[in-house]
């Protein structure tokens, strides 16, 4: 990719030795020396600071630094510098520099993909905050370089993965981690705002409310007074009712989804509507029979 820069670099060479040296170092794969020289050149020369090609070379050098020195560092400063440099190059590129712009975008897409993959790989119950930032960086880059590209699919997938992580954190200690349940609901609500007909997001939201209702009574001591039991039952009914529209929608969107039928049977059982509970259980049994055949 650096080949296209030769003419320009030759022109710069007559004016800035550090810049040309940095260019030579990176071609020789002497990464650290290239980085030191490009930074010196950019610092010392006002002209280079306004040159999109110079910023492109800087971005390229930092990208190589990232790949060779900091690839395993998800908070790599070199990656951020590379992103900054490529965007700076684009901002300085006149309309005539279409190739330069395209080259910057290719590099930025690569770096954005690395942010996305870091978000996907790092997301687990012990680390859920950083992946949110990595994903935000992925989105930020992609929305700038491809404003017409839809990121909905990626955003929905990430929101759902995040909801799964929050749910795991909540389930590990439901008494002390109720905040994670709300975060899980928030993530699923985001997924549903982007993709209201997402079967899994609807089902998962329904199950969150269902499980919350069940846990309300499961976690109680036998000693609670009857007034409290009444209040708990009242809350449960509200939660089962909140679960219902999401689970019904998941079933409407995918009538072959066994889990949705099982959930509906459970919800109606929880609402003490045993007839409807039985009806969905029978539908489930029927579906299972059909699928066997």
């Amino acid at each position: 990719m650096l080949v296209c820069m030769c003419t320009s670099v030759y022109m710069q060479a007559q004016q800035n030795d550090d810049f040309v040296t940095a260019y030579k170092y990176i071609q020789l794969n002497q990464v650290d020396s290239a980085r030191a020289r490009i930074d010196k050149a950019m610092r010392d020369s006002v002209t280079l600071g306004k040159d999109p090609q110079a910023w492109y070379v800087r971005g390229y050098i930092y990208k190589v630094v990232y790949k060779t020195r900091e690839a395993s560092d998800r908070n790599s400063p070199a990656r951020l510098q590379a992103v900054y440099s490529f965007f700076k190059s684009i901002s300085l590129t006149a309309d005539t520099g279409k190739q330069m712009r395209a080259d910057c975008k290719v590099n930025l897409k690569y770096l954005a993909a690395r942010f996305y993959n870091d978000a996907a790989q790092a997301l687990d119950t012990s680390n859920y905050k950083n992946p949110i930032q990595y994903f935000a960086q992925y989105l930020s880059i992609m929305k700038k370089i491809e404003p017409d590209m839809s990121t909905v699919k990626m955003e929905v997938e990430f929101a759902m993965a995040l909801a799964t992580t929050y749910t795991s954190l909540y389930q590990a200690n439901q008494k002390t981690r109720a905040n994670f349940l709300e975060l899980a609901k928030g993530s699923l609500a985001k997924a549903l705002s982007l993709d209201p007909n997402n079967v899994s997001a609807n089902y998962n939201m329904g199950i969150l409310y269902y499980n919350q209702a069940v846990y309300l009574i499961k976690g109680q001591d036998y000693d609670i007074d009857l007034t409290s039991l009444d209040a708990i039952q009242d809350n449960q009914v509200q939660l089962f009712k909140q679960s219902l529209p999401f689970t019904e929608k998941a079933y409407a969107l995918d009538p072959k989804k066994e889990e949705a039928l099982l959930a509906l049977s459970g919800i109606y059982f929880g609402l003490n509507d045993f007839e409807k509970s039985k009806l969905f259980q029978e539908k489930l049994d029927q579906l299972k029979k059909e699928q066997k055949h």
Binding site: Y116, N204, Y210, N211, Y222, L229, E259, L262
Partner: protein, 175 residues
């Protein structure tokens, strides 16, 4: 430039509880809380305050029996140890502090209530019309919430004294 592949984010379907089984366990827990509460608000005849405090469950209801056993392992009825019995028939010679007849076993319970008449047994049911058949407490579902009807006359026929507080929790119905 080599194309970088995106790592697949595959959010799992949440591992829910075993839905219906759990909903059944949830109802069993509620009924257990009710039954245990009754031990606090009702005064049994002197000979029923000796030995174990026996809660009999008529018919095959393993979910409820299991929940009651969990409760019995940690709680006492005043100073009495709680014992749970799963019953397939009601002997008039049997000594039960509470007899619970679940809705699904009502038809099979026959004249169980009549057999225990005057015995000092609190009969708890969960079927419409059971107060008229002699039950002292009958679970009812009102707007999806489990509540209970209470018949003081039926309780008194069993020599049971009902605390005022329990009366205040009961729903008033003509049934």
């Amino acid at each position: 430039m080599k194309k970088l592949l995106f790592i697949c984010l595959c959010p799992l379907l949440f591992s829910a509880y075993q839905q219906q089984e759990d909903a059944a366990a949830m109802n069993a827990k509620k009924k257990t809380i009710f039954l245990y509460s009754f031990t606090k608000y009702i005064d049994w005849p002197p000979d029923y305050k000796e030995g174990n405090f026996v809660i009999g469950v008529f018919g095959n209801n393993p979910t409820l029996v299991s929940e009651l056993n969990k409760m019995a392992a940690t709680k006492m009825a005043q100073s009495q140890k709680i014992e749970i019995k799963s019953l397939n028939s009601i002997e008039s010679s049997g000594k039960y502090n509470i007899l619970f007849i679940p809705a699904e076993s009502t038809a099979q319970s026959g004249d169980a209530i009549a057999r225990l008449k005057g015995h000092g047994t609190l009969v708890v049911t969960e079927e419409k019309g059971m107060i008229k058949k002699g039950s002292a407490i009958n679970f009812v579902t009102i707007e999806s919430i489990i509540k209970f009807q209470l018949s003081i006359p039926n309780a008194e026929k069993q020599h049971l004294k009902i605390g005022r507080e329990l009366e205040s929790y009961a729903v008033k119905t003509n049934d």
